[in-house]
Amino acid sequence: MRVRRLRIENFRKFRAPVVVDGFTDGLNLVCEPNETGKSTVLDALRAALFERHSAKSDRIRSFRPQGDEVAPSVELAFDVNGEEWRLTKRFLLSPSVTLEGPEGRFASDAAEEKLQGLLGFARAGNRGADDDSRGALGLLWVEQGQSFLLGSPGETARRTLEEALAGEIGAVTGGRRAKAVVAQVEKALEDFLTPGGKPTKRLKQAMEAAEAARLAATERARELEQFEGVLEQLEYKRNERRRLVRDIEDPQTDADLKKLDEDIARARAAGQALEIATLAVREQSARRSALEERRAGREKLATQLQAAEAKVAGATEAVSTHAEVISRVRSSERAAALALEAARTALREAETRRDQSVAERAAAERRFALAAAFARLDRAEAHAANIRERETRIAASRMDAAAVDRLRQLEDAESAARAQAEAGAATLTVTLEPGAPQILLDGTPLTEGAIRLSRPRTLAIPGVGTIAFAPPPSGEPALARLRAARRDLADFLAGVGHDTPQAARTAGRARAIDEAELLGLRTRLKAECPADAALGIPAGLDPLRGALAGVERPFPEAKDAAFPAADVETPYRAARAAETEAAARREAALESLKAGELKEVALAAALERAEAERARLAADLAADRAALADEDLAAALEDARAAEARALVDCDTARRAAEGLDADGFIRRRDTLRKKRDTLQSQLPELAGAVARLEEQARTLGGEGPASRKAAADEEAEAAAAAHARLKSEADTLALLLKVLKEAQQDAARRYLAPVTRRIEPYVRRLLPSASLSFGEDLKPQLLTRAGREEAAEMLSKGTQEQIAILTRLAFADLLIDKGQPASLVLDDALVFADDDRFDTMMEILSEASGRMQVLVLSCRASAYRAMAATRLSIRPA
């Protein structure tokens, strides 16, 4: 298809008619500034071709210039396969369409249909034309801002392409029919399986029905089993009842019972006779034995009386014999008492003597201790006085150890000062001739020897005059120190109250002696005052003094004045032993006496008792004989014995009669039989109830027809399972068919896409060296392979996407042209993202393409296209 001329009126911004003409077969360029109406021109072209003239959609209304109720109209002249056509379309107000061409003039819907047939697009829907209805032409006419979309071609366009492609590979894809079949199979499968392959709808229902039927059959089987159980139980209970009734009504039992009753009566009568006979025997025996006892009692009494009399005689004898014995015991007791008295007196005397001796000895010991204590006190007092004296002296003396030391220092200092003073002094050596006159040195007679002249000295030689020596002044400081030392010494001596150092030293020594002595004295004093246990005096001088203060100092006596000797102790011990022995003897005598007296009393009592017994027995015997004489008693006894023998014979007869008739045994057997019958009868109602219950149950359950129901349920379960299997098989069949169909579709798609891939390859290579592009089944560019790396087309840059989109369309257009389909490529403001190199390459490709097809480029970028060899068109007023 080639556009030749376009006239537009009342269309958007073009109220007044405009014309674009002069289209050539090759590249046509409409290069106008923005807002000139390039896109409107393209819209008008599309509207003329694809929108139904009668449409009144919003989009059609948008064709009207703002605010004008006018009829947008478009006139289009174009060629298809070398034939010229002329299309006129008017929208909204008196809408119309005419198509004129070599085949004549078409109007209204006929014109629309002819146009569709001519250009291969579909009738637009109610909402206007869309990508789908525009077909391949729509695909090739790229609107502003749409050029870079890597969309999938619409259904119609794709079908057109696919048909073109199918021709290419020389095979029919099956096209619409194949799609319909797949759709049918898919739809059919939906009734059985979800897309995920899970049972659904019919298959699921059948599956559930089969399961439900299976469960129902199980339930029916259970019901039948229950029913069978009821019947079985019923039969069992019935038989049991039958047996029970038979047992209850057994005639043998009645006969047995009757016979037992008779036996019992017989046994009872015999028992009573025996009892009476036994009682008679017992009575006669009692009478006989009473008489026998009486006779025996009487004999026994007589014997006892004889014994009692002998006992009285014996007791009398014992009493008189004992009287002698006891008088002997009494006299020996008295003798023992006297002996004891004497022993006691002797003991008291011995005791007194011993006590005196002990007291005397204690007094002597005390006297001795006191004497010693006084002696110690005397010595202690002497020591105490000595101590006091020395302490007084020490207190008076100032020459303690420190003062002695100080004195020694002062003397040493004085000696040192003197030696120093004398070291610088001249020495005057005196040698006197015997008998030389007395010479006085400083008033003192001069002696031989050396004299140190350390101070002014004066020698007075009587007769001669005086010789004065004066030490040189250089010795003065030493002299001064000497003087100071002497002064210190003199001061010290004055302080301690001694005139000379000698005296002071003596005093120091005396004090030291006193102090040493004092220690010894104190120790001795302490030794003299120990604690005295004998006198009860504590340690120390003062207690000693106190203890002895009020005591008279004993006379000094011979230390060896004898204490009383041991002879007081020995008589005492002997007296004591004698007394103990006498006491023991007395005790023993008393015991004997007491025993004798007790025996005496006992013997008297025994005599008394024996006498009383004898009297009682004699009285009893006499009384009994008075009641019944001995001969009368013998006669009565004889009579009683005969009666007893008769009763025994009678009793024996009765016993033999009763033997073999066991009334208790009969009664037990009778009771057992009765009880058994009662038990059986008591079971009957329960059993009857159970039978009735089971009968009712059987009737109720049987009414439901459990066996039939089970049979039916089994068959239905089987049928449901079969139905499920059938549907399952159908589902599997459909699933397999769909799988195989899809695989076939994919194979076909792969095959028929090859031409598109082949066509676009050279273009892509020119733009992106060594790259190749592949398409999806829906003819959408999918993968770009560059240097062995695959990139998803959607992830490429906008510019590259746009360029690939245009190249894809170019390839599609080539494909269509090869199949003799009308194709022209329209690009509105495309390639806006292209860099200069890419832009130039694209232009080259477009220029080449324009040799095969009409290409219309609308753009506002004049400079970009300036160098391009193209027919330049303008929008001009008509």
Partner: protein, 376 residues
């Protein structure tokens, strides 16, 4: 003495494997047989119907079937029905028969005891019935044993009524086995047997009547009752009376194409109304895909809806898709590819192969449907 010999009514048979729409009718038809038997009895002047066991399909058929059966019999007041318990509805305490004894209308009697029953005098000749009720589904003893020693008035006709098999079919000892020569041994004028659903003559005095309403495939003669006329020592006169409504037909068709199908269908059970026909067809043979589809369409979409129930078993009708079949699906393109692939899978056999065969057939059908839709 004339009477009707029938057996194996099996009222309440569930027909659970039969599709719902046919099931009810088949069940109802068994009850209808009672009316038809009574009509036949009346028409032949034999108002006595001896039922040789299996009156009901199960020992507990349920109140509905039970009531319906009694009601139908009660309605035929001039016909006397004597019912014998069989192995399907054996006699047992408190079961079906206990209830029946209490509920039976005047013209119906349950033969629940092995005791002679006086049938009265027909045509001046006294007849005594010797029934052999079954008290268990399976009993080892011959239930007719007692016939031999049964005492009957001198000169009375002795007619036996029993349920069981007269021969063993191998395996375990067959239950309820009736001595094959019982009629001779027990001096019976006629022995009416039940159990086998087909009508069979054992000897001149021993017959199985078969079920009056057919209930399964594969019976030789079925759907009849026997009109029996016995007198003195003469051989009984036994006449077949058609009673059944449904015709159960099982056929195997070996097909080599779809051409003779119409003729076969036309020749199916001549004289039987299609709605009374229960038919099981086993198809076999080797056909093309197109033929198979045509056969199935003809049978499933047409015949199946004409008859009471068509049980079509086409597993052995093997398809061999031809190139023509495949090119009919599509000469080229995706559908063709898919068809070729499926045919290849078929060739591999096994479950997968069978599935592929079904898929191919489906593809063929779907393709035709799409084509029709496209043409329309």
């Amino acid at each position: 003495m004339r009477f009707i010999h029938t057996s194996d009514w099996q009222l309440g048979k569930p027909f659970g494997r039969v599709p719902e729409e046919a099931r009810t009718v088949l069940r109802e038809a068994r009850l209808d047989a009672i009316d038809r038997l009574a009509a036949a009895a009346r028409a032949n002047g034999a108002p006595l119907v001896l039922v040789a066991g299996d009156v009901f399909d199960s020992p507990e058929p349920g109140d509905r079937v039970y009531r319906q059966a009694l009601n139908r019999m009660k309605a035929q007041a001039d016909v006397r029905f004597l019912l014998l318990p069989g192995n399907h509805d054996p006699l047992r305490a408190d079961g079906l028969w206990s209830r029946l004894a209490a509920d039976t209308p005047a013209n119906v009697a349950a033969l629940t005891e092995a005791l002679p029953v006086d049938l009265g005098t027909g045509d001046g000749e006294q007849a005594v019935l010797l029934p052999a009720p079954l008290s268990h589904k399976r009993s080892v003893a011959d239930p007719t044993q007692w016939f031999d020693g049964a005492e009957t008035p001198p000169g009375a006709l002795r007619i036996g009524l029993a349920h069981g098999s007269v021969q063993t079919f191998g395996g375990d000892a067959d239950p309820n086995l009736v001595a094959v020569d019982r009629a001779r041994r027990a001096g019976l004028a006629y022995l009416a047997l039940g159990d086998w659903h087909g009508r069979i003559r054992i000897d001149e005095r021993t017959y199985y009547s078969g079920t009056p309403e057919p209930d399964d495939f594969g019976r030789e003669v079925t759907g009849v009752a026997l009109l029996v006329d016995v007198s003195g020592n003469a051989t009984p006169e036994v006449t077949e009376l058609p009673i059944g409504r449904h015709h159960w037909l099982e056929e195997g068709w070996s097909l080599s194409g779809a051409d003779d199908l119409d003729a076969r269908i036309a020749g199916l059970a001549p004289g039987v109304a299609r709605q009374d026909l229960v038919c099981r067809l086993r198809l076999s043979g080797l056909v093309t895909l197109a033929e198979r589809v045509a056969v199935r369409r003809r049978l499933e979409d047409e015949l199946a809806h004409e008859v009471r129930w068509l049980d079509l078993i086409a597993d052995d009708l093997v398809t061999r898709p031809t190139d023509t079949d495949l090119s009919e699906i599509d000469a080229q393109g995706e559908l063709h590819t898919a068809a070729v692939r499926l045919r290849a899978m078929m060739g591999e056999g096994g479950a997968e192969g069978r599935l592929a065969a079904q898929a191919l057939e489906r593809l063929y059908v779907e393709q035709m449907r799409a084509q029709r839709a496209g043409e329309a």
